[in-house]
């Protein structure tokens, strides 16, 4: 409780919904990084930009930190409250303000669900392209804050490629209009800077997104392979042949079995790896690409190639892919999902090294991921009931990410750093670069009150962890539990 701040909120915006009792704060104690929890001083649920301005001014005046949250689907812990801070929940700001079919744009409040934008655009033959697996629930404000991806970003881009303009409230209450309804805006590209800034630079109160014409025709293929290497080679050959599929997803045997058991998608159980390939465009164009892709799949030793014969079958295939993580929970309830990106040519090597490390740790690793982007999502299974297992899964996860850095990749392709990957940030970036990130934050938030301690590690923490690293990583990160 922070009585003066609560009094501020009530005095300035009497209609603002404030939650300050433990019982009703419980639902907000974590995001989707569920192992870590904290109760904030209070949660505020603004309904307008004017209320957001007042909330920020009050926090700034009292020096109270603030964490912003949308639907709470983030899986790197970036929206977990701070015990000494306020949690701003933007889910009540969920109006679609305008859809302009002629200009192919939609102007929405930050709490609008990703899929709701596409639903509003559908009558005009348009859609909002980025489609994270949580799209039915996750909200646009969070999508911008995390620069969310999805299964179709190889062809259609990430959130940063599909947003034209945002309104942001800075800590001091200033309203920043960033980007424009034109294709560019004068000055530095602050729009790009805000994407993926994980709530550290300001609060997003409005987003104008770009809408894309629905493709005329879609063809979805499933290809089964006798080995992961064959499947990975097929991925590279398809892209090497000049075809950019709308989606190019891969899953290994463990995932195939889990999906089959859980959802009966009709996946071939004797395969070591599956590719799910979507081609879209004009029917004539898709037919041309289809012939190329089928020839490559056969030459890459595909043991089975199946075409979705209608929309129902295609939806079933995608449901199985997007439900893969739920299916994996049927194998083992405790698992930990990683999110590194690597150069695509390293796929066979990296997957082999993952398997080897898993064997060394005595832990199973499953792989279901965006192969076209080289964005891996290895899933580590462990038993939370066994003492020390969680810490070991965390240690293994850290090693998997470090392999990504070693081959020239990154520790996070689309899930964000949050609290989860702070330690690996110290490996990926040098001190001078991290220092620059802190200076950038200070430009927008000189008091360091917006989501402090997330996304960018403090330099002194890096040197502490660096010391730990030298000693062999034997000391668990006690302050950062995760599932």
């Amino acid at each position: 409780m922070h009585a003066p701040l609560l009094a501020d909120f009530q005095r300035i915006t009497p209609t603002l919904k404030v939650i300050a009792d433990t019982e009703r704060l419980k639902p907000f104690e974590t995001d989707a990084f569920i192992s870590h929890r904290a109760l904030p001083l209070c949660a505020v649920l603004p309904e307008s930009e004017a209320q957001v301005v007042e909330i920020l001014k009050a926090c700034n005046a009292r020096g109270v930190p603030l964490v912003t949250r949308g639907a709470g689907t983030g899986i790197s812990g970036g929206a977990i409250p701070l015990e000494n801070g306020v949690l701003a929940v933007l889910s009540r700001m969920k109006q679609i303000l305008a859809v302009d079919p002629a200009a192919r744009t939609a102007r929405v409040q930050p709490g609008v669900a990703n899929a709701a934008v596409t639903k509003a655009a559908a009558p005009f033959g348009l859609f909002y392209a980025p489609d994270p697996s949580s799209q039915i629930v996750c909200s646009i404000g969070g999508n911008v804050a995390e620069n969310a991806g999805g299964v179709h970003c190889l062809k259609y881009g990430l959130t940063v490629h599909n947003v034209l303009r945002i309104r942001v409230v800075a800590l001091n209450g200033d309203i920043l209009e960033i980007g424009s309804a034109a294709l560019d805006a004068p000055g530095y590209d602050l729009l790009a800077l805000m994407h993926g800034s994980e709530g550290l630079l300001g609060l997003i109160t409005e987003v104008t997104v770009k809408l894309t014409p629905e493709p005329e025709y879609i063809e979805t293929l499933l290809a089964a392979f006798p080995s992961v290497t064959d499947a990975a080679n097929a991925v590279n050959s398809i892209i090497g042949a000049g075809v950019i599929p709308a989606a190019l997803e891969m899953m290994d045997k463990m995932v195939i079995n889990a999906c089959e058991k859980f959802m009966s998608a009709g996946f071939p159980l004797d395969a070591e790896a599956l590719l799910l390939i979507e081609l879209d465009g004009a029917p004539e164009e898709v037919a041309e690409y289809l012939a190329t892709v089928e020839a490559i799949l056969r030459a890459s030793h595909a043991q089975e190639i199946r075409r979705a014969c209608d929309d129902t079958e295609r939806e079933k295939l995608w449901k199985s892919r997007k439900g893969a993580f739920a299916a994996l929970a049927t194998i083992c309830p405790d698992y930990y999902t990683m999110d590194g990106t690597i150069p695509r040519r390293c796929l066979p090597e990296v997957l082999a090294r993952y398997a080897q490390l898993g064997a060394e740790f005595g832990m199973m690793i499953a792989n279901v991921f965006h192969a076209g982007d080289g964005n891996l999502h290895p899933v580590i299974f462990y038993d939370a009931a066994k003492p020390g297992e969680m810490a070991r899964s965390e240690e293994l996860g850290g090693k998997l990410l470090e392999i990504c850095i070693e081959v020239g990749g990154t520790i996070t392709g689309e899930h964000g750093v949050g609290i989860e990957k702070l330690k690996q940030m110290c490996v990926q970036f040098r001190e001078s670069e991290l220092a620059m990130f802190h200076v950038i934050k200070a430009v927008f938030d000189p008091e360091g009150l917006l989501n402090p301690g997330r996304a960018v590690p403090e330099l002194k923490r890096c040197s502490e962890w660096g010391g730990m690293h030298v000693r062999g990583g034997e000391i668990p990160r006690a302050d950062m539990p995760r599932f």
């Binding site: 002629a102 192919r104 005009f124 033959g125 970003c153 190889l154 881009g157 990430l158 940063v160 490629h161 800075a170 200033d174 920043l176 424009s180 034109a182 294709l183 560019d184 004068p186 000055g187 530095y188 590209d189 602050l190 790009a192 800077l193 800034s197 629905e214 005329e216 590279n236 892209i239 465009g281 004009a282 029917p283 004539e284 164009e285 037919a287 041309e288 690409y289 990106t341 690597i342 695509r344 040519r345 982007d373 080289g374 020239g408 990749g409 990154t410 996070t412 689309e414 940030m425 970036f429 040098r430 001078s432 670069e433 620059m436 990130f437 950038i440 200070a442 430009v443 927008f444 960018v456």
Partner: protein
């Protein structure tokens, strides 16, 4: 190459200590663009060459001083392209200058801008620090997106060293169609087409003639051509025309009158402009050739949600770039100070904050 980087870094440190500005340049093909040039020239052309290019990865990493001509000839052999179709204002145009100026060509509204394809940068800050941001992979959300922040910053935030891009296969088939449309009709038609799944890759309108380029798989382009009608432009004339638009070689752009770039929402109806104008980017860019009261024009364009750049010629004292809102100008000044505390890198080239 390490020796070149060390020597540039040293020059930056010396310049910072003496507070004397440096003017970063490559081929000098965009020297006309942006605020007036001050300072000692820092020639980036020796820092040149392709660092890594594996076509199957769709990723290219290159040194800033490399010419577009060299990059495109290498990519040609792999049937790939820089998807933002950068302008070549001269043969010596470099990739570093392209990213710094943030300029994209006719393909921009349909495929993306240079900022959309930048994946990573290595820069020297105004303190001479060697910093790397982003990477060489297509998806990366670790750290703030400083690479894209560098794009279009006119070299005011850092000296660009290495640049990584996502690249794309070249379309197998391409053709150009010609239509006779009045201005309002052209704008309406461009927007209507853009709302449909058509393989459009460029649009242009000037003096009653609209041009449309289709790119993609042969079958897709053929099907779209049948749907759209129009008059097919002869094989060689199409690419020539688009190059003249991209590089501003057409007579309209070659005039010595002030050339103004109006960036507006694409559906903005004709602006009742007295001076000759050329429309690009599906209606989102209107080029104006001739004298204009810049502040009045800026007010008018702001009211439709756009902004105005004094692109070439004219009096730079009126401000090359559209003035920023005061709150944004303050952030710009502080970002500039964060990267370049002594204000030595391309001082004044971005003149709106």
């Amino acid at each position: 190459m390490d020796a070149i980087v060390s020597s540039i870094s040293e020059r930056i440190r010396d310049a910072a200590a003496a507070k004397t500005p440096l003017s970063i340049h490559g081929g000098n093909s965009k020297a006309f663009y942006g605020g007036a040039i001050v300072g000692e020239p820092l020639d980036m052309r020796p820092y040149s060459g392709i660092i890594e290019y594996e076509p199957k990865e769709l990723v290219l990493t290159v040194r800033a001083g490399t010419t577009l001509v060299e990059i495109e000839s290498v990519m040609d052999r792999a049937s790939q392209m820089l998807p933002f179709e950068p302008p070549h204002f001269a043969d010596g145009s470099t990739i570093g200058g392209t990213v710094a100026a943030g300029l994209s060509g006719p393909r921009r509204p349909y495929t993306g801008a240079v900022r959309d394809f930048v994946l990573g940068t290595r820069i020297l800050s105004g303190k001479g620090d060697d910093l790397r941001f982003g990477g060489r992979v297509i998806k990366n959300v670790a750290g703030y997106d400083v690479s894209r922040l560098m794009t279009g910053a006119m070299g005011t935030l850092g000296v660009l060293l290495d640049l990584s891009f996502k690249v794309l296969p070249k379309p197998v088939a391409e053709l150009t169609l010609r239509f006779e449309f009045e201005e309002a009709m052209a704008i309406r038609q461009f927007n209507e087409w853009a709302g449909k799944p058509l393989p459009i890759s460029a649009t242009s309108w000037f003096q009653g003639v609209a041009m449309l380029r289709l790119s993609g798989a042969a079958a897709g382009v053929k099907a779209a051509r049948q749907k759209l009608g129009g008059e097919l432009v002869a094989d060689e004339a199409g690419p020539l025309f688009w190059r003249s638009v991209r590089d501003q070689r057409a007579a309209f752009f070659q005039s010595t009158a002030p050339l103004l770039r109006l960036s507006v929402p694409p559906t903005t109806m004709p602006l009742a402009l007295m001076t000759p104008h050329w429309i690009e980017w599906g209606g989102a860019v209107r080029w104006l050739s001739g004298a204009a009261d810049l502040s009045m024009l800026r007010e008018k364009i702001a009211s439709v949600g756009g902004h105005v750049t004094l692109f070439r010629h004219g009096d730079k004292a009126d401000g090359v770039f559209n003035p920023l809102q005061p709150v944004l100008a303050k952030i710009h000044r502080e970002l500039k100070t964060a990267f370049d505390p002594e204000n030595i890198l391309n001082r004044g080239r971005m003149d709106n904050f």
